[in-house]
C-alpha cells in the first residue's frame, strides 16, 4: 500500500514516469543544498565570536563561493550528461585510483548528509520545545531515519511529490523572514555598516589585520557546511527528464540562487537582529524569535506561531534533504560496484527499481553515525565538510586538468580554467583549514573511515581482478577449442518435449558457460540429447537509462545465447534458448525455468557456481549466491535443479 506494486521494466513509459522535471529535481536534489542554510551560516557566524561585524564580508564570500561552485558543477553537467558526479569525473579525468578516493569520500558524504539533515531537523524542532523533553530527540532521529529507509525502498518520484509542499513552505517562510529582517532595519543599515567599520578598525588596531583575516578565513571554512549539497544535481543527472543537460542546468541555477539568497540573507539577518547563540536553540530559532516573537494579534501570539511554522518547515526540508543521501548514495555505490570497487550486489535494482541493497547500507551507516555522535550537529558538520570538500577539490582538479590538456581543441579553455581553478583554490583552502582546525574534534573520524573504505575498495577490486584472471584462463582454454566440422544449422533446433533436456542458466558467452556443458556431458554421458540455454537480461543501475539501452541489453543477451546454441549444435546437440528481461537475476531466471519446466517435463536444470581453492567468508558477500538461490526456488517447486562447480583457476 505504501510501497506499491512492482514496476514493469519493459514499459517504455516507466523511465519517463520515474524521472524528474526541473522543479521536482530542485525539490528532491536541491533540497540538500538549500537546507544547508539551516546549519552552515550558523557555524560560520558562531566562529566569528565577538567579531560579528565581519559577517558582512562573510556574506559576500559565501555568495561568491556558491556561484563559483555552482557554475563549475553546471559545466560538469554539460561535460558528463550521463551523471555520476564526483566519482565519475575523478575516474575519467584523474584515473580510477583517484576516482575511488572521490567515490569513497562521496559515500561517507552521503551517509553524513542523511545524519546531519535528520539531526539538524530535530534540533530545529526541539528549539521550541522545553528542555524537559530533550531526551526524546535522539530516539526521534532514529525513527525518522527508519521511516526514510522505508519510503526510499519505494522509489524516487513518489517521495519527491509528497515533499514538494514542504519545500515551498520553507522557501516562503524564510524568504519572508529575510526580507522582513532587511526591510525593518533598512533605515538602520547605514548605522550597521558604520558600526561594522568602526568595529573592524578597532579589531585591526587591537589584534592586527592578519589575525583578523585568519579569523575570517576560519569562520569561512567552518561554514563549509553551507556548500554541501551543490553537487547533488550533477550526481543525479541520470534521473532527470530529457533533455537532461538543460534540466540539470536549470535545476542547478534554481538551487544556487535560492541557496545564495537564503544563506547570505540569514547570516546578514543575524547581524541586523543581534542574534546570539543560545543553549538548546538553533541560531535560526533565535533569529526568528527576535524577528517575530513579539507579534500579537487579538491576544494570540501569532509571532510565535509563525516561528513554529518556519522551524517546522525548516525541519521538514532537512528531512527532505536526507533524501539526497538515499537517492545518490546508492547510485554512487552502484557505479562503484559496476567498476568492481564495491560488491557487485550493489549494482542490482530491486523490483521497485531502486538499489535496495544500497538503501539498506546507507540507512545502517547513517544509524551508526547518529549513534556515535549522539546527534551532535557540530561534530557532524565538521565530518561532513571534510568529505564534501575532498570530492569538490578532486572534481575541480579533474576539470582544470581537462581544460589544460585539451586547450588546443577547446576555444573556451581559458575561461573554463579560470572557473575551475578558482573553484579548486576555494575548495582546497576550506578543506585544509577545516581539517587542521577541527581534526581532534571529529575530523579524524571521517579521515579514518574514508581511508578504511578506500582500503576496502582496493581489496575488493584486487579480489575481483584475481577471479577475472582465473576465469579468463578458463575462457582461453575452452572458447578456443576448434569446433567439429558439421553441417551448420542456423538458428535454434526443433526440440522434442519428451526426451531428457538439460536446461542451462548462463550469462555471457564464456568459459564459465562452456564448462557447464562439458561438466553435464561428463556427469551424464549420452543422456541429454538436447540443451536449452536460459538467460536473464538484468536491468541494473548501469543500463537503466532508457529504452535504447534496454534494447541493446536484450540484443546482447540474445547474441550470447545464439553463440551457445551454435556451439552446442556443432557438438551434436539439438539446442534452443529462452530469455527474459527483469531487475533481479534470481526471480527472472526462476520465472523462465518454470515455463521451460512445463514445456519440457523431462528437463533437469543446471547452474554454475564459482569454486575457490579455499573458500573464505567474504566470497559469499562478493559473489552472488544466485545459483543456489535459483536452485532453492526451483526445488521448492518440485523441479530438479543442480549446481555445477566451476573451478577458478589460479
Amino acid at each position: 500500500m505504501i510501497v506499491g506494486p512492482p514496476r514493469d521494466v519493459s514499459d517504455p513509459k516507466i523511465f519517463h514516469h520515474v524521472s524528474l522535471i526541473a522543479f521536482l529535481a530542485w525539490v528532491g536534489l536541491g533540497a540538500d543544498g538549500l537546507s544547508s542554510s539551516s546549519y552552515g551560516p550558523e557555524e560560520a557566524y558562531k566562529a566569528l565570536g565577538p567579531h560579528s561585524h565581519l559577517s558582512i564580508m562573510l556574506v559576500a564570500m559565501t555568495a561568491v563561493t556558491i556561484a563559483v561552485i555552482s557554475i563549475a558543477y553546471s559545466n560538469l553537467i554539460q561535460h558528463f550528461p550521463g551523471g555520476g558526479g564526483g566519482y565519475l569525473v575523478a575516474t575519467k579525468l584523474l584515473g580510477s585510483r583517484v576516482g575511488v578516493v572521490s567515490g569513497c569520500a562521496l559515500l561517507v558524504d552521503y551517509v553524513l548528509t542523511i545524519t546531519v539533515s535528520i539531526a539538524s531537523g530535530c534540533d530545529q524542532l526541539w528549539s521550541f520545545l522545553p528542555p524537559s523533553v530533550a531526551g526524546y530527540k535522539l530516539l526521534t532521529e532514529f525513527l525518522i531515519l527508519l521511516l526514510l529507509v522505508v519510503l526510499n525502498l519505494r522509489g524516487v518520484k513518489e517521495s519527491v511529490n509528497v515533499l514538494a509542499p514542504i519545500f515551498v513552505l520553507f522557501i516562503v517562510t524564510h524568504a519572508f523572514a529575510i526580507v522582513y529582517a532587511i526591510a525593518t532595519h533598512v533605515t538602520g543599515l547605514p548605522k550597521v555598516f558604520h558600526d561594522a567599520h568602526v568595529d573592524y578598525s578597532h579589531s585591526v588596531s587591537t589584534i592586527g589585520f592578519l589575525p583578523l583575516m585568519l579569523i575570517l578565513l576560519r569562520a569561512y571554512s567552518l561554514g563549509g557546511g553551507t556548500y554541501t549539497g551543490i553537487e547533488a544535481v550533477s550526481n543525479g543527472v541520470s534521473m532527470l527528464r530529457e533533455p537532461r543537460v538543460r534540466t540539470g542546468k536549470r535545476t542547478m541555477a534554481l538551487m544556487a540562487a535560492s541557496l545564495a539568497f537564503t544563506a547570505g540573507g540569514i547570516m546578514f539577518a543575524y547581524l541586523l537582529t543581534n542574534s546570539t547563540p543560545t543553549e538548546g536553540k538553533t541560531m535560526n530559532a533565535v533569529l526568528l524569535t527576535n524577528l517575530f516573537g513579539h507579534w500579537h494579534a487579538g491576544g494570540l501570539s501569532t509571532g510565535m506561531a509563525f516561528v513554529v511554522v518556519a522551524l517546522v518547515a525548516e525541519a521538514a526540508l532537512l528531512f527532505v534533504a536526507a533524501q539526497t543521501g538515499f537517492l545518490d548514495g546508492p547510485r554512487v555505490l552502484s557505479n562503484m560496484a559496476l567498476d568492481s570497487w564495491m560488491p557487485h550486489r550493489f549494482s542490482q535494482l530491486s523490483d521497485r527499481l531502486v538499489t535496495k541493497n544500497g538503501v539498506y547500507m546507507m540507512g545502517i551507516a547513517a544509524a551508526a553515525a547518529l549513534l556515535y555522535t549522539r546527534g551532535d550537529i557540530l561534530t557532524l558538520v565538521v565530518m561532513y565538510s571534510i568529505n564534501v570538500f575532498i570530492t569538490f577539490s578532486l572534481t575541480e582538479l579533474g576539470m582544470a586538468r581537462h581544460w589544460i590538456k585539451d586547450r588546443a581543441k577547446e576555444p573556451r579553455w581559458k575561461s573554463q580554467l579560470a572557473i575551475h581553478g578558482t573553484g579548486l583554490v576555494m575548495c582546497l583552502s576550506i578543506l585544509v583549514i577545516t581539517t587542521l582546525e577541527k581534526f581532534s574534534q571529529g575530523g579524524w573520524v571521517t579521515v579514518v573511515i574514508t581511508g578504511l573504505l578506500i582500503a576496502l575498495c582496493f581489496a575488493i577490486r584486487r579480489h575481483y581482478d584475481e577471479v577475472r584472471a582465473g576465469l579468463k584462463r578458463l575462457d582461453d582454454i575452452l572458447t578456443t577449442i576448434p569446433l567439429p566440422e558439421t553441417g551448420t544449422a542456423s538458428g535454434p533446433s526443433e526440440l522434442d518435449a519428451n526426451v531428457p533436456t538439460a536446461v542451462i542458466s548462463i550469462s555471457s558467452f564464456s568459459g564459465f558457460g562452456l564448462h557447464q556443458i562439458l561438466s553435464i556431458h561428463k556427469a551424464f554421458p549420452n543422456y541429454f540429447k538436447q540443451l536449452v540455454f536460459v538467460s536473464a537480461a538484468v536491468v541494473d543501475s548501469g543500463n537503466f537509462k532508457g529504452a535504447e539501452e534496454l534494447g541493446s541489453l536484450q540484443k546482447n543477451t540474445e547474441e550470447n545465447l545464439l553463440k551457445y546454441v551454435a556451439w552446442a549444435q556443432a557438438h551434436g546437440f539439438r539446442a534452443d534458448y529462452r530469455m527474459a528481461l527483469g531487475t533481479e537475476a534470481v526471480a527472472t531466471v526462476e520465472a523462465i525455468c518454470l515455463d521451460v519446466a512445463k514445456e519440457f517435463p523431462r528437463a533437469i536444470f543446471f547452474m554454475g557456481r564459482l569454486i575457490f581453492k579455499e573458500e573464505k567468508w567474504y566470497h559469499r558477500l562478493l559473489h552472488n549466491e544466485t545459483p543456489h538461490a535459483i536452485q532453492r526456488r526451483l526445488q521448492f517447486e518440485g523441479i530438479q535443479a543442480m549446481v555445477l562447480p566451476i573451478r577458478v583457476l589460479e
Binding site: M1, I2, V3, P5, P6, D8, V9, S10, L129, P130, S132, V133, G135, Y136, L139, T140, L143, I144, L146, L147, V150, L151, L153, R154, D351, P492, S493, E494, L495, Q554, E558, D576, Y577, R578, M579, A580, L581, G582, A587, T588, A591, D595
Partner: protein, 139 residues
Amino acid sequence: MTTMIRSLTSDSGQPKKHHAVTRAALLVVFWIVAAVLVAIVHQTIDASSPVISVILKVGAIVVIAAAFGRLAASEGTLNYALFVGTTWVLLDIATEISMTVRSGHQWFALIGSPANGGLRCVLLIAWIIAPALFVRRRE
C-alpha cells in the same frame, strides 16, 4: 518459432487500492485504540508492578496490531508494516511530549520512562515490530 522473449511483470495479485486518506485514518484510529489501552494499563498497574504493566502493554499492542493487520492492512507488505510501526512510535512520542508540556510534569505512559531503559526498549520494539508480525504478503 521456438524462442521466446518475455518481460516480467508482477504476477502476484495486485493489492487492493486504498485511498491515502483512508489508510492514514485507519492507521491513526488503530493507534488511538492501542494508545488508550496502553495508557489505561499504565494508570492502573504500572505503579505497583512495572514488569507486569509492560507485559500487558505489549499484549495490548500486539492484539491491536493483529486487528489492524486483519482489518485494515490485509494486503500490506513488510515495508508497510514497518512504516506503520514507526509512525505509531512517532505518534507516541508526540503525545508524550504534548502531555508533558501541558501538564508540566513528565508523562511516560506510552513508551515508558527512560529510568527503566530495558522495559522502555521492550515497549519501543513492540510498537515498531507488532504490525510486522501479521504481514501476509511477500515483498
